[in-house]
């Protein structure tokens, strides 16, 4: 993959930063309009086919949903929620659940294997199976609960935003398959503009709380989601204010440097002690040492 968009901007477990040094490339984005999704799951099938994923046994969860959550062999899941509204009304909500391709990815932050999770210049966050060690730390780092461990390969797996298609100028498989036009693909600026205009439309049509879900806590996402009930992202299974988890940041930003310094400090304290005090030896005139005298 030599195209400019796929130069690596950021990589997991890099000491001195992993930037390619390339000029800034336009970030690509997927647009999801939950208000025009009909829950047909064509995107699920297209994703399975294009990415050659294994079969997943469906689970009856009491709704039209295929399985309860994302799976190592199912990177794209339409989530269904029957929501009673505060005014007594009812909403049947569907959202395409998948990797959000955060600008500040928690998975990449948590990953200990150099190069196993990368962020390309075009904003796509991808798992490199060759470097992945299957430790599942990215599961903890992800605020959206997306990466899944595949026991078959001992690697992590998640949506790649069809980076292989995008690289050759095609749109992601799910977008290609969507029959209602609720999915679009383009630069992030274009998708945000499209989302804003759709939100205007929704607001004019009685959805006063409609908004674009592009959470700032993770620097924005390369999946731009239009929510009719934008004041309640949790109805769609989205966190209200996602962040890279505190424990992961504390580990990487605080405990790691403190630990390395502590090791060096302990070592040099011992060296300093030896130079200052030297080894412990019996006192001069040792015949009448303390141990033998009267207690």
């Amino acid at each position: 993959m030599n195209s400019p968009g796929l130069q690596i901007r950021r990589s997991s477990a890099q000491m001195w930063g992993g930037g390619s040094g390339q000029r800034k490339m336009p970030v690509v984005s997927k647009y999801i309009d939950t208000s025009t999704c009909i829950g047909c799951k064509a995107c699920e099938v297209a994703c399975q086919e294009w990415n050659d994923l294994g079969n997943v046994r469906t689970v009856q969860v009491g709704s039209y949903q295929t399985v309860p959550t994302l799976h190592a062999d199912l990177w794209n899941l339409i989530k269904f929620n029957e929501q009673t509204l505060p005014d007594g009304g009812f909403a049947w909500l569907m959202r395409k659940d998948q990797c959000m391709h955060c600008a500040d990815p928690g998975c990449l932050k948590a990953c200990p294997a150099p190069g196993a999770i990368v962020q390309y210049e075009n904003g796509i966050v991808d798992v490199n199976p060759e470097a992945c060690i299957g430790c599942k730390m990215c599961e903890t780092g992800c605020p959206f609960d997306v990466p899944r461990y595949a026991a078959r390969t001992d690697k992590m797996a998640k949506c790649t935003l069809c980076v292989d298609r995008v690289d050759v100028g095609l749109e992601p498989a799910c977008v290609k398959a969507c029959p209602t036009g609720c999915l679009h693909f383009g630069t992030k600026d274009d998708m945000l503009a499209l989302a804003d205009s759709r939100v205007e439309q929704l607001r004019a049509n009685g959805f006063a709380q409609a908004s674009v879900y592009n959470p700032k806590g993770v620097g924005g996402t390369s999946v731009v989601t239009v929510l009719s009930h934008g004041d309640h992202p949790e109805w769609y299974g989205l966190p209200k204010d996602p962040h890279v988890p505190t424990g992961v940041r504390f580990w990487k930003n605080v405990l790691r440097p403190v630990g390395v310094i502590a090791f060096a400090a302990a070592f040099f304290a011992m060296v300093g002690h030896y130079l200052t005090f030297g080894p412990k030896k019996p006192k001069e005139g040792g015949e009448k040492s303390r141990g033998e005298g009267p207690v």
Binding site: A13, Q14, M15, P112, A113, P114, I133, G134, C135, K136, M137, E139, T140, D145, D154, P245, T246, G247, V248, F250, W251, L255, R256, V258, G259, V260, A262, F263, A265, A266, F267, M270, H273, Y274, F277, P279, K280, K281, P282, G286, S289, R290, G291, E292, V295
Partner: protein, 238 residues
């Protein structure tokens, strides 16, 4: 060709090291100019724990930070480390449990030992200004090391299990396990750096206690006078 050794004869012909032979089974006994401090089983337990500790350390460090990524090469790469580390952790935990049971009864802290819990007590000891006259087989610092190692191993084991099998646990517990594992291992390593220093360079003659099993009488009189009195006193009675 040498003559055929009959069972009855070989028993007396070999020139063995009396102290080493005695140190197979017995502890706290005087053999010539030496005192047996750690019998064979004690030493084997110590070095088993140490071996698993260092394998855990060198497989864990490259996962912890890319600064130590080169260590992964020693084991065949990071994937091997990721596989080896938890299993060695299990072995380390078991070895530490055996060590705990083995030494538990000798490691009760006396009031005098509690001085090592204060910074002043540790500083006095490190300045060689402490009053050692009533120090028995283990001083307060050694006993504290024992308890800290046991506690640290427990923390590493529990947090390690969560990291190894994170699925049943909530995200908060997983994050906590990383923090606990990190803090426990950082303190553990700093402690072991001190342990190695005190056992080798700082206090000459100590290392032989855990390799050969014996120490000199002078060493015992200097570092563990009460133990020295007990051991030699017993010896005189015999």
């Amino acid at each position: 060709m040498s003559e055929v050794a009959l069972p009855g004869q070989t028993k007396r012909t070999g020139v063995g090291d009396a102290a080493v032979v005695r140190a197979r089974e017995d502890e706290d006994v005087v053999v010539g100019g030496e005192i047996v401090r750690h019998r064979l089983s004690s030493r084997v337990i110590h070095w088993t724990v140490a071996l698993f500790f260092f394998v855990c350390l060198f497989t864990g460090l490259p996962i912890w930070t890319p600064l130590f990524g080169w260590m992964a090469t020693l084991f065949g790469g990071l994937s091997v480390c990721r596989w080896l580390h938890p299993w060695t952790g299990v072995a380390f935990s078991i070895a530490t449990l055996v060590m705990f049971v083995h030494w538990f009864s000798e490691m009760k802290l006396t009031d005098k030992d509690r001085e090592f819990l204060t910074p002043g007590g540790i500083i006095r000891y490190m300045r060689y200004q402490g009053d050692d006259s009533e120090v028995g087989k283990y001083n307060g610092g050694q006993k504290l090391l024992f308890w800290a190692a046991a506690l640290g191993a427990l923390g590493l084991l529990l947090s390690g299990i969560v990291m190894w099998f994170p699925e049943p646990f909530g995200n908060g517990v997983r994050q906590l396990s990383y923090v606990v594992h990190d803090i426990a291992f950082i303190l553990f390593v700093a402690m072991i750096i001190g342990h190695i220093y005190l056992g080798t360079a700082a206090e000459p003659g100590t290392f032989s206690a855990i390799v050969r099993g014996t120490v000199t009488k002078e060493w015992a009189r200097l570092h563990h006078p009460k133990w020295y009195r007990q051991v030699t006193g017993d010896a005189k009675k015999r």
